[in-house]
Symmetry: C2
Subunit: 404 residues, 2 copies
Amino acid sequence: MTAEATIARILAHPRFRDAVGVLAREHERIVADTIALTEIPAPPFAEERRAAAYLEMLRAHGLEEVEQDAIGNVMGRRRGSGNGSTVVVAAHLDTVFPAGTDTTVRREGNRLLAPGIGDDTRSLAVNLGFLRALDAAGIRTRADILVLGDVGEEGLGDLRGVRHFFTEGRHRHAVEAFFTVDSPEVDRIVTGGVGSKRYRVTFRAPGGHSYGAFGLVNPAYAMARAMLGLADLAAPRDPKTTHCASVLGGGTSVNAIPNAVWMEVDLRSADATELARLEREFLAGVEAAVAAENAARSTREGPVTVDCAVIGDRPAGHTPADAAIVRLATAAVASQGFSPTHEWSSTDANIPMSLGIPAIKIGSGGRGGRAHSLEEWIEVEPAECLRGMTASLATILAAAGMEE
Amino acid sequence: MTAEATIARILAHPRFRDAVGVLAREHERIVADTIALTEIPAPPFAEERRAAAYLEMLRAHGLEEVEQDAIGNVMGRRRGSGNGSTVVVAAHLDTVFPAGTDTTVRREGNRLLAPGIGDDTRSLAVNLGFLRALDAAGIRTRADILVLGDVGEEGLGDLRGVRHFFTEGRHRHAVEAFFTVDSPEVDRIVTGGVGSKRYRVTFRAPGGHSYGAFGLVNPAYAMARAMLGLADLAAPRDPKTTHCASVLGGGTSVNAIPNAVWMEVDLRSADATELARLEREFLAGVEAAVAAENAARSTREGPVTVDCAVIGDRPAGHTPADAAIVRLATAAVASQGFSPTHEWSSTDANIPMSLGIPAIKIGSGGRGGRAHSLEEWIEVEPAECLRGMTASLATILAAAGMEE
């Protein structure tokens, strides 16, 4: 059966129609849950309060084995009829916003404004809505559905929640498919995980008075050489590979040779081999830059030394276009009148993709914008939301094997 | 008459011997004034309280025309028998220490510890001691002696007090010699003023997402090229010329091409022509670096632009070894058993030197160390202080023409 046929059959099934009816009737309840969760701040590395609230919600929805793992993820299982093979439906608990950010939601008709509301708080609420719809409609699946609220998706969180889930979590060997429901839009299906490696590179030297100690090695010049070396590294268009010297600082006083300067560097590629090549060449370039500075000026007070600290490490990965979950998601999104595209991005799906586990990012329905800014918003026009949720729920059920 | 003979004649004069006797008897009073003035904080650009106190002290010492000028310098005149030709005896009011620094003086025998005590607060007190000694001994001079407490000698103060004095002050055309009494040591006579030009260079560009906007110009790479261009500029040993990229910063986030980065640069030379050459080449290098980055990557969202802001400008200058005040100071220092050297530095004397006015830095007597640190100290062993003060007072009197 083609993916289109599978999706069409699900959409036409009376129990699925019942489930969609529940989602339609519960529109305002999903909005209320979205608001309630958004107003529990979840800054990077401080998701505890929201995690505790979500854990209680998972429990209230009658899931089995509701628990919090060692890194802070919360999850619960909706058992299928199969042998425990598991489809994960995840949304991330954390936001990019630091502690102290006002996350009070402002509602203007169908528009809701608050930091983190679309990325990714609404998805947490929608996944609960999916559970209620499945239960109310009496839908059973072959695979277990594991609903996951994970920590550390954003920035320096570095995917630590899902990384833990797949490296140490007790469910990791049972996962046959992974969906991260992340942000409202459903048309942009993320099937490629851009890998990234991030470094903070610190160049140290003795420093000294700019006039009195003139002639000593200057760590800023070593860094400048390393930057220009990075700028010159090959960056193929396909697989798309990029590099960037992004944030920098250091030095003591205008009249002193600095004793330390640093830069942050972002290396990315859609391909893991390419990313490893880029990283290798970058690090070799840093060493060469340090050696060049130590050769160019005096090291009588000591040489330039360098420390390369990894501050981010997201593996690259890809779920092929002919993988079942990609075909099913594409068919489901198209069935609801959207124009699906396959995109590359960096999401929780990077981790399972890098392990060869079928994984994609789907949407929570509706529209949104200005993510990662204080003006973040979502639009919850009921019919538009319902079309999006229908597409995502049909995709999940197709992957989990909805029973007739 | 040789400088040595002039100094010997002054040292042997009964009235000078009387003056030295006053300095000896008033040792503790000078120490007390040093402590009192040190404990009135005088941070950069906030010398008002100390200036007001010093103004009152100048008035109490019976000077004429005691006043504060528009920039904050305080001064008063001890009239000579001549036509108003003036010898300036200056010390700077400001310290490098920010507001809030504890300047309470700790005394351990002859050792006094406090931020700013040696650089340059003791000199303010010693200059008052000189006035009392001259008055008590009935010494007259040909030239007027103008005692000056000036602002803005340190750091970003950029010599603004003495610069104002020589560019707009009402005495500027009458000065025939300028002494800055700066720090205790008398053996190191500063006869050369190292010039410096300091820039804060800001490179701006549109910036953008490190992955999505890859290929756009990166202002950090323009800055890196400018740094390496600076590192390669000629820096002769004689006249000693130096350059340094010292403090830098910028960027928004590890995953963003920066939209602004900046660096501070210190350019110095003992020679004004050489400094001007260095500055010209540096600025040309910055322009070339920006052009190279705009040629190397895409400017479709906008090019890298650059702003070079002057944050420091101290003119170079030199009082020749055969100038009278250099020969007199050298002879006076040697006469007290020290080994005089002629040094280059950056002091208040830079300004008159750059104008061709005879100017040197002399000492307040005693020893000191750890200037510009919170552990700054001076040693006020009475005999050592007296030898130093005797050398400096004899120099001043020789320059001002002590009447027989």
